[in-house]
């Protein structure tokens, strides 16, 4: 029994080391370092990748081994001095093993530094021609072709205006980005507690301000349980416990007031109301934002409407529509909104006539509509 345990531990250690070394090779394949790679190096690297994929298929359902390897990869990731996933080039998860030959192949194909002879060898391995078969697995050639086909498919659909939706949480592109975000948040969270926050801050700085909030909103609105039967290829396209990723997201939003402000400003009223309805923790912050906003509006006697002091402040209609959407949200929210408005109205002096207190006017407008 003891020798068996020792033997299996040794085997495990050897496998883990191989994983780490391969991860380094994968990282190197993106760099100019490949200039020094000979055709033999390329061939060996691909063989190694094939072996790693075999490991993935062999042990994918074996929870213990999977976890141990996963932990080892995370340690390696952590050691890279808390690098963001964007800059980390090695393997980031066990799941990545399933595609590592594809990843390696694509990196080498796109790397201009790879020498002519090495490139030809690569091509020979990737596109051997007709008749290349593998008994137990799809060939790399077929999988590359499948990916190319899928990319062409997506392009064809989008070029004809299909597979899109104006509603962020229904748009497939936004949904996919949201799923990826949650997946990464979960992985990063397991590697380091600070991970998710750092990742989100980094993304907020890098990404365009009009699209990232939509992705966040979509992520917050994704259904809890992945629909349908379990995926066949050990892949989990949507995280098993999406709740985890979402929790980090909410905490991060609440942690930075300027992010929250920008988030609320860039999204339409209805979408925000759905988000807040689903995650009530966000409600107080949102409400506070709206009340601040309201306080900044002044009544213009000539025009007969509420306007902002600066150009940047949202107009009356915008504010009203946001309160209206909130009132259309599930019941507890609506009651709290009305209560808050009543409180503000009372604080202002409790006027009933329009034009004196914005809260009165809001309540009047809501009362007639709701």
């Amino acid at each position: 029994m003891k020798t068996e345990i020792r033997a299996s531990r040794a085997a495990m250690e050897s496998l883990s080391q191989q994983l780490e070394s391969f991860s380094e090779v994968l990282a190197a394949s993106r760099t100019p370092h490949v200039r020094s790679w000979s055709p033999t190096t390329v061939r060996r690297a691909l063989q190694w990748a094939r072996y790693m994929r075999h490991v993935y298929r062999r042990f994918g359902r074996h929870a213990g081994i999977r976890l141990a390897l996963e932990r080892r990869l995370r340690d390696q990731w952590r050691r890279e001095d808390g690098a963001a996933p964007a800059t980390y080039s090695g393997l980031t998860s066990f799941r990545a093993l399933g595609r590592c030959d594809l990843l390696l192949a694509q990196r080498l194909l796109g790397n201009r530094a790879l020498g002519g002879a090495a490139f030809r060898c690569l091509l020979g391995q990737l596109c051997p021609g007709p008749g290349a078969q593998d008994a137990e697995d799809e060939t790399l050639q077929d999988r590359l072709a499948l990916l190319a086909r899928r990319r062409a498919a997506v392009h064809l659909l989008r070029a004809s205006g299909l597979g899109e939706s104006p509603a962020a949480h229904e748009d497939p592109l936004t949904q996919t980005q949201a799923e990826l975000l949650l997946q990464r948040l979960r992985e990063v969270g397991q590697a380091a507690a600070e991970g998710p926050r750092r990742l989100l801050c980094g993304l907020w700085e890098r990404l365009p301000q009009n699209s990232f909030p939509r992705v966040i909103a979509a992520a917050l609105l994704l259904p809890s349980a992945p629909p349908g039967p379990p995926q066949k290829e050990l892949e989990l396209d949507s995280p098993k416990t999406p709740g985890e990723g979402r929790h980090e997201l909410v905490q991060w939003l609440l942690g930075k007031s300027d992010t929250m402000t920008a988030f609320c400003h860039s999204l339409p009223a209805g979408l925000l109301a759905s988000v807040v309805g689903r995650h009530p923790e966000l409600f107080p912050a949102y409400l506070a934002l709206l009340t601040d906003w309201g306080r900044q509006l002044n009544y213009d006697l000539q025009k007969g409407i509420w306007v902002g002091a600066e150009a940047g402040d949202g107009p009356w209609e915008e504010l009203l529509s946001r309160f209206q959407s909130l009132c259309q949200a599930p019941l507890p929210l609506k009651d709290e909104v009305l209560r808050a408005l009543e409180t503000c109205k009372a604080q202002d002096g409790g006027f009933e006539a329009p034009g004196l207190s914005i809260w009165t006017d809001l309540l009047l407008a809501l009362g007639s509509g709701v």
Binding site: Q106, C127, L144, L156, L157
Partner: protein, 477 residues
């Protein structure tokens, strides 16, 4: 070999012109034309590859100076890249262009350029969506990580859009514009065999718009039918029935395809015939009267054209047998009356024929046979103008149900005494329905003593052990 290269040259010119016209497939006409030519173009690519792989890079450039242009234009055509194996064959062709040892700057440039194209197809696809690329790169993901999920989400979104439009048809806001559905069916044509598109193909086939005319692109039906017949996709029976009901040429092609497999290939056994018949889904689909009529018509035509060939007759009988079985399994609510399928025959006759002969116990077989014979005779001799009886229709009706002819023969052989007249009439009729009553009487007399009749005549597997009956033609032309 010279012949091949001449053929290839002219084909080359043809496709070069086509590709130039197609560009990046942005207009409706070009898309239509491309979809029409996808299989042939793939075949051409295969031929080119077979030629290129024998040559080295320099010879290729000498022989086909514009090959680079041809391949580049192909790389920029998303319809071609999306279709079947075209993208794979394209990479093989490009691989042939790479020079081992570039001796001039021209050759180096060609190498570099070819590498760029290969990278475009297999690695950094230049049609990728920039915004998504940036996002996923920031997360540290590669296209291989997100494309399967993205395509799945897009397909799901389209499927639910179609379903909603279908269900909420009266609410015009939720309705999908016909042009949009049409456009979708067009874009799907190269992608029918991509597994991710299965649900979408099904949804399109079962989608009924709110326009009186067909919304879907006809080539879409053709392509689905082709893929289904070649077993490149699996479709549920309901989707196939929708396909055949909406697009008559598909049904005809499916029937002809079956004929080819059963009739014009080498001898197949009875079990294999049954297997192929069931697999084709035609008997089950024929529970829908419109489909039955078409298939029936095609069998009728085939019989006439081939002069009543036994193979055709055998196929018809297997079809009818499987059809009756399928009818029995059909949901009671959707059952049509038998006369819907056999409008020209007396209902009582049809009812009698549809019974399974084997179900009748041994001693009691004479009675039903006699009844059938009488009814059939009456129908066959009904020569009144405008009647839908007559010898051929009656014969055709009877011929479908092979089991009865077999049983008549069996019974007449088994009885020690002279078999009853009704039985003999039946046998004579099934052989030569056109004979007037005089020659038929003679045949009947002869048939009683003639031993050249074997129960298994309908099935070619037993051909060796029987003599064919008089094949004096049916004389209906």
């Amino acid at each position: 070999m010279a012949q091949d290269s001449v053929g290839l040259s002219s084909g080359y010119q043809f496709w070069m012109r086509k590709l130039s016209v197609w560009g990046q497939a942005s207009t409706l006409e070009t898309q239509q034309d491309i979809c029409h030519h996808l299989p042939q173009f793939q075949e051409f690519l295969r031929q080119i590859y077979e030629t290129l792989k024998e040559m080295d890079s320099r010879t290729i450039i000498e022989r086909f100076p514009t090959i680079g242009q041809l391949l580049a234009k192909t790389c920029w055509n998303p319809f071609i890249l999306a279709y079947d194996e075209s993208q794979k064959i394209l990479t093989w062709c490009l691989g042939c262009l790479i020079t081992k040892e570039p001796q001039s700057s021209g050759e180096s440039k060609l190498n570099s350029w070819t590498r760029g194209l290969l990278s475009h197809i297999l690695a950094a696809f230049r049609f990728d969506i920039k915004e998504v690329d940036l996002f996923t790169q920031s997360l540290g993901y590669a296209p291989a990580d997100y494309y399967p999920g993205l395509l799945k989400n897009m397909v799901l979104s389209l499927v639910s859009e179609l379903r909603e439009s279908h269900l909420n048809g009266f609410n015009t806001q939720r309705r999908m514009a016909p042009e949009r559905v049409r456009s979708l069916s067009r874009v799907c044509i190269p992608l029918i065999t991509l597994p991710d598109f299965g649900p979408l193909v099904e949804a399109l086939l079962t989608y009924h718009g709110h326009e009186p005319q067909e919304t879907l692109w006809p080539e879409f039906f053709d392509a689905v039918n082709e893929a289904f017949l070649l077993k490149k996709i699996l479709l549920p029976k309901s989707a196939v029935v929708c396909l055949w009901l909406r697009h008559l040429p598909s049904l005809e092609k499916a029937t002809l395809h079956l004929f080819e497999k059963l009739i014009f290939s080498e001898r197949t056994s009875l079990t294999r015939t049954e297997f192929l018949m069931r697999q084709s889904l035609l008997p089950e689909a024929a529970c829908h009267p419109a489909i039955f009529r078409i298939v029936d018509e095609m069998f009728r035509y085939a019989l006439l054209e081939t002069d009543g060939a036994p193979e055709v007759l055998a196929a018809l009988q297997v079809f009818t047998c499987c059809f009756v079985e399928a009818l029995g399994k059909e949901d009671n609510q959707l059952k049509f009356a038998l006369r819907t399928y056999f409008p020209y025959a007396p209902p009582s006759l049809v009812m009698a024929l549809v019974q399974h002969p084997e179900d009748i116990p041994q001693g009691l077989r004479h009675q039903p046979l006699r009844r059938i014979s009488e009814m059939l005779r009456e129908a066959a001799e009904d020569q009144a103008p405008g009647s839908s009886g007559g010898p051929f229709e009656s014969w055709f009706l009877f011929a479908r149900f092979g089991g009865w002819a077999d049983m008549a023969a069996e019974q007449s052989l088994m009885s020690a005494a002279e078999p009853p007249e009704a039985l003999l009439w039946l046998l004579a009729f099934s052989y030569s329905p056109r004979d007037g009553s005089q020659p038929r009487a003679q045949t009947m007399v002869g048939g009683g003593t003639q031993c050249g009749w074997h129960p298994g005549w309908a099935f070619p597997e037993l051909e060796g052990s029987y003599q064919r009956g008089p094949r004096n033609g049916f004389g209906f032309h």
